[in-house]
Every structure is written in structure tokens, then in C-alpha cells.
Symmetry: C2
Subunit: 328 residues, 2 copies
């Protein structure tokens, strides 16, 4: 099934079930008011949502209405955890190579992962509002999973069974703030502002054969200012799958329902697939010519992130954002 959170003026929004073709939607409030409430009691709530989903897809639901992604908040407008891995090691390797640094071999054995802010997520069509262009505004197209409870020390197999939903994410990054933040060793903090998510979260079964080995085997399309700049396959070159990412996160802690775990920027070794963040393109330019020529995003720039299935249909709906200057 496909789920969305409609903006009703509350902090957590209104849970709704979306038709597979993303054309219609149906409020789920007789079942659960919010997505977090559904995740808190998934085994009880999910079958009820699924029944509504089947009715909606069959054209038999009682009060469907047109689905408008612009009315969506993030599926979880705020979450209790947002941990983002760097599973596409090619991306990490490129960044390092561009600055003449070797990548430690350990980066292929253990995932890199950071903990980000989860109190203020952006909806799929919300503006990216920031104070300064010269912070080096970049998009990062990612896939992420929303997990159920996972106990401390769980195996990757246990973790895989706890994957409840998948989403797309735009892990907006402020490239020019990253070096100083990472130099402190305490993580990205100011260099990772609010993250945006796709209009729709889907259960793994919605992906059919494209969900296997804990990976999503479909291309992730990034369109920057109307130009398709990336379509790497999310199932290719993913060195750590979602099972491994979740298991890594719960090595020393329990992971609780509603935790969102990201893949990191999707990146293929095959450079003809383009890029899912500008930084990567700049790294390629630096490696090839000694100089990065592609500039970061400007106020007014647009970014669209979407994933199409084998039949060319949008799975999650599109993240479609405009970068805007903070008005004080």
C-alpha cells in the first residue's frame, strides 16, 4: 500500500491512503490519525490500512478525492530518528579522490552513518528556505526506509524484517559548511538543514521484484532546473543494504518504530548515469580537469527527485522543490 500525510495545519498531519496510480487518496482517520500512530501499532493498524488501500485501488472506497502532492507533508512530518548512511561508497570515494585523499579500506566494511535533525522535515513540494546562497546549497537524492522496533544487537536479517515503508529523500546539504563541521568531528549539524521526503511512503511489496536483497533496484531520477542530471540505479553499487544499515545503527542501542534510515546519495560507478548531488559532479570535474565548474544551487533553482517503476509509473510521487532566500 501507499501512504501519505496531508497537511491539515497540525504538526503531524492527517494520515491518508493513496491509490497505486497516485491519482486518488482517502483519509485514514477511522483507522489511525497519523503515520507515527500507525507505526506505533503496525501489526494492528497495517491490515486495516491495507483493506482501505485495496478498496481504493478497486474503485470501491467511499470518499476518495484527487491526490495532490502539493498538499502533502513529509510522510512523517517529524520523526524520532533520522539516521543517514553512506551506502554508495562510490560517492564517498569520489569526494575523497577529488581532494587527493585515500579512502580508508574500513569504509567498505562498516557503513558511514550520521544522525540528523528529525523535528522539522520538509514536505515534497516545500521550498528549501535558506539564508545564504554561498553556503553551497546542494540536493542529495536518496532512498530511505522507515523501520519498526529493532532490538539492540539485532542481525541484518532481523533488521530487514523490520522495514515497514520506503520513501525518497532530498537530504539537502550545505557544501561550504561541511568542511568546518566535519573538522570538529561531531557530525554535520549546520551543514545538513531540513530534509525533504517524497509525497508517498510505500510498503516493500509495492515494489515487487524491484525490492530484493534489502535494496531498491530502480533508477533514481534527479532533474535540476528542468534538466535530467542523474538516473543511477539504486540497486547497483549499494555496498551496504538497508538491513546492514539498520543493524549498524542498533549495535549499541534499540531502534524504535518510526526511525528513518537513509541510503546516502545514490551513486553508480558508471558515470554515464549522471549524479544525485552536485558535489559529485564537481568531484568528477576536479578529477578530470583539476577544477570544479558546475556551481551549487542558486535561489530560484528547482530540483525534482523521482523513481519510476519498470512500466514508467512514479512509485513515490515526486519531490519538487524550489530554493528560496530566508525572509527575515
Amino acid at each position: 500500500m501507499k501512504l501519505a500525510t496531508l497537511n491539515d495545519g497540525t504538526r503531524d498531519g492527517q494520515l491518508a491512503v493513496v491509490a497505486r496510480d497516485l491519482k486518488t487518496v482517502h483519509i485514514a482517520d477511522g483507522i489511525a490519525p497519523t503515520l507515527q500512530a500507525a507505526l506505533d501499532d503496525w501489526t494492528f493498524i497495517a491490515p486495516q490500512l491495507d483493506a482501505l488501500s485495496r478498496e481504493l485501488n478497486a474503485g470501491r472506497a467511499r470518499r476518495p478525492f484527487d491526490f495532490d502532492p502539493a498538499r502533502c507533508m513529509a510522510p512523517l512530518p517529524r520523526a524520532f530518528q533520522w539516521a543517514d548512511g553512506s551506502a554508495y561508497v562510490n560517492h564517498v570515494e569520489l569526494v575523497r579522490r577529488a581532494r587527493g585523499a585515500e579512502m580508508p579500506a574500513s569504509f567498505r566494511e562498516e557503513p558511514l552513518m550520521y544522525q540528523g535533525g528529525s523535528d522539522d522535515f520538509l514536505g515534497p513540494c516545500d521550498d528549501i528556505v535558506l539564508a545564504h546562497e554561498d553556503w553551497g546549497i546542494d540536493f542529495e537524492a536518496e532512498v530511505a526506509v522507515i523501520a519498526d522496533d529493532v532490538a539492540m544487537g539485532a542481525s541484518p536479517d532481523d533488521a530487514l524484517r523490520a522495514v515497514r515503508l520506503l520513501v525518497l529523500a532530498n537530504d539537502v546539504s550545505l557544501r561550504n559548511l561541511i568542511p568546518a563541521e566535519l573538522a570538529k568531528g561531531f557530525g554535520f549539524l549546520q551543514s545538513k538543514p531540513a530534509t525533504a521526503f517524497s509525497p508517498v511512503a510505500v510498503t516493500p511489496d509495492e515494489l515487487g521484484e524491484a525490492w530484493r536483497d534489502g535494496k531498491v533496484h530502480l533508477p533514481l531520477r534527479s532533474t535540476w532546473n528542468g534538466r535530467l542530471v542523474g538516473r543511477p540505479d539504486a540497486g547497483t553499487d549499494m555496498v551496504f543494504n538497508f538491513a546492514q544499515l539498520i543493524a549498524h545503527l542498533c549495535t549499541t542501542r534499540n531502534v524504535r518504530a518510526g526511525s528513518i534510515v537513509g541510503s546516502g546519495t545514490v551513486s553508480n560507478k558508471d558515470a554515464s548515469k549522471g549524479y544525485s548531488c552536485i558535489a559529485e559532479q564537481r568531484c568528477l570535474e576536479t578529477i578530470e580537469t583539476g577544477e570544479a565548474v558546475t556551481a551549487y544551487m542558486r535561489f530560484g533553482d528547482t530540483i525534482r527527485i523521482e523513481m519510476l517503476d519498470g512500466a514508467g509509473k512514479s512509485v513515490f510521487g515526486a519531490i519538487e522543490q524550489v530554493v528560496k532566500r530566508l525572509e527575515r
Copy 2:
């Protein structure tokens, strides 16, 4: 007023108002079911909680019962944000000096801050359950604030006005995992397991004159295995106050209601005040004799963290935890 969250088997617990003397408690469920619900609508809810608090303190509340910290969850059993500063720069300086490293001057100009897991907090009397003693289990006694909404780019003055509640925290740390985590540059992740909080969260006015300049001017007492090992004053040597810490956090993002911002390990330059984490004692030993002799915590160890007011009364109740081995 003083607020607590009682363990009723739900994920977010039951909000309750606690008497100033911590002897009695009263369920707040006619007002708000959970502390997060109260924080989501503070201007409407807080006066109602305050009225109940006044009745309880006057002995006129209808259904008070004995307050038992062991029945408490963390005031926010899970939160949408947990960002922990390092405001007591003395602590950072000692850690660096012990390993022969200079502290960058910038550490006195801009706070260090990390983003930690907030999906699974420990109650004040919950065991610290971990798989391995040799991870280097340490306590960290801290003060933290719970904020209301703060807009991106807010000034420290704006941020100060958004402080709704104060709590104590035990920011449990796994010292032997920290070097490898920090070397990756992505933050503490596995080296900061679940954090514990005091039984009670208090509004700033409960501290009277002890809350001024965005700091809590009272000693924080840490008692390890029954021995008082630290009583540094939380208002002394705090280089960044809570206003500055919150403003730092919201430089590139909005901070939303219920975000918890920590002070970092409370530490005074006056070493006779003892320590709020074992690592600091080990640093002092290393600086003095070249060798750290105090071992980290063992399974079975206890830690008590508490703050007394000028009259010797406990302000927040005590964090009292036992370290236990994870049973698989």
C-alpha cells in the same frame, strides 16, 4: 511547575504534575495526555498544568498519590530532537591535553554540538544495558533544556525565551568506541547509546535566582558506586549558555517544540569540584602521572546524578541507574 511522565505501558507515557517537594504527583490527563502534546500547544496547556501544580502544592488537588521516580519514564520518553553541546570547554580542553593535542581557539567562539538518538530514551531508574564492558562505559552528568519552536536564524535572546523546561541527563558514553567513530567525521553514532533523563522536568521559574544568564547556577552531584565523585557548579565555566546553544542549533534550520538541547558534561576548572564523567578524571590522571588509573564502569556499577537547591532539596529528583549486561 514540575512535570513527570509516568510509565503506563505506552510509548509516550502519561503526563503528570509533581509537587515541588517531589512527594506527591497528580495525573494531568484531563489537560494533556503526554508531555509532547503539552509542548505542542504550550501557551494553551501550560496555564492549565500550572493551575493543577498550584493546587497540588497547596494540598488541594483532588487525587494526588505518592511520587515514585522508579515509575517514571524520561519526561520525554522519545523526542524529535536531541542535540548535545559541549558548553563546558574545560572538559574539551582536558580531553585534548591528555592526548597532547591543542584545543583550537574556535572552540571558545562556537559551540561544539552533536545530534544524538532521541527515539529511545531511558527513564531515571532504567538500567544502562550494554553488550560489552570493554566498550568503556562512562556516565556524563549534564543539564538540558526542552525548547519550544525557534525559527531559523533566531538570536540567542529569542532562543532564551523559548526555553520551556529543564532536566538533568546522563549522556552515557562508550569511550573506547569514540575514537573510531570521531575519526570517520560523521559524529558519535555507536559511541553514544541511549541517554537517561531525570524523573522531573521543571519550568525555569522553579529554579528562582539559580536560573539566570541562560545557565543553572547550582552544583550537579554525581555519585558513582555510592561515592560522591563530582559537584561542579553548572553555572561556572559554562562558556556557551543555553541561549547560545539553541541559537547555534537553529542557524540553518528551524528548531521545533520538544527539542532537547544539552549542555555537555558539566565541568569546572577547579578540579577540587570533582568530575561529571570518568573520562575527565582519567584525563587529569594522564596529565599528572602519564597514566589513567581509574577504570570505566563495570556491570553492576551504579550512578546517581542529582541537583540540590540552596536549601538542600532535590530539584529534578535523581537519576539512579545500574549498568547491566545485555541478555540475548
